[in-house]
Symmetry: C2
Subunit: 165 residues, 2 copies
Amino acid sequence: MYVLGVDPGVARCGYAILSRSSHAIEVQEAGVIRTNKDTPLPSRLLQIFDTLKSIIASQSIDVVVVERVVFKTNAKSAMAVGQALGAAFMAAQSASLPIAQVSSNEMKLSLVGDGSADKWQLQSMVQRLLGMDKPISPPDVVDAIGLAFCFLSASEPVRQGWRVS
Amino acid sequence: MYVLGVDPGVARCGYAILSRSSHAIEVQEAGVIRTNKDTPLPSRLLQIFDTLKSIIASQSIDVVVVERVVFKTNAKSAMAVGQALGAAFMAAQSASLPIAQVSSNEMKLSLVGDGSADKWQLQSMVQRLLGMDKPISPPDVVDAIGLAFCFLSASEPVRQGWRVS
C-alpha cells in the first residue's frame, strides 16, 4: 500500500510517499513544493496542484492523507491554508483517489503518544519509527511523513473515520 | 472585450460573461455553479474548477474578475471561501488568463455610487445599467455581473491596480 501524505501550505507544501509491505513502512519519496512569494497567487496554487498531480501520477498511490487544519488563527491565514488545501484535494480528486484528513494532534497522539508533542519530539520519533540514521528535515516533510505513517499504522475503522471522499 | 466575473463559493459559485463593444456592455452568459452539500468537498472543488474551465474554454475570455473577499467572518468560513477562490484562480490560470480581484465594496461604489449598497440596490442598478426588463437573480449572478461590469467600466490604471496576475 502506498500513501501520499500532504502538509498543505502555499509557500511550502510538504509531501511524502510511504509504502507498507508485510515487513516495514518505508519512505519512497519526500520533499517540499516551494512557491515563490513574488509569483501571483493563482500561479502558485496551480504549481502546487500540478506538482501534486505529477507526484501522484509517478507512483501507484492508494490514498492521499492531508492535514486537517484546526483553526485558532485569523481569517486571512485560514483563507491561504484553505487555498493550498483545496489544491491538494483537487489533485487527489482528479486522480479519483480516496482522501483522508488527519489533524496534527491525532497524528502526534498516534506516533508520539502525546497530541501536543513539539516538532522536535515528532522529528525524533519519525526518525526512530523509520529506522533512519539521522533526523529528517525540514518540518514540512516530517509532518507529511507523520501523516502518511499515522494512516498506515491505523486500523481500518479509524481510517474510515478519517475519510473525506 | 469579454470579461468573466466570478463570485466564489463552494455551495454556490456565481459567474457571468460580459462583453463590451463600442456600443454597449452586454451579458453573454450567466449562471450559478451549484454543488451538493452531501458530496465530499474535494469533488465539489473539482466540479467548480472543471466547470469554470469549460466556461472559459467556451468563449474567448480576455480577463477573469474574481471577488476579493474581505474577512470580518470566522476562520472556518474563510477557509471554505479560500478553497472556492483558489479553484477559480486555478481555472483562470490554467487558461493563462489575466486575473483581477475587485472587492464587493469597490464594485458597489463603482456601480451604485455607495460601497455599502444593499443587494436590492445593486440588483436594481445592474438591471438599469444593462437595460433589462426585469430584475436579475439570484444574488450570486448579480454579484458576478457586477464584478465584470465594474471592470469593463474602469479606466486602465484602475484595472491595473486590480490585477493579481
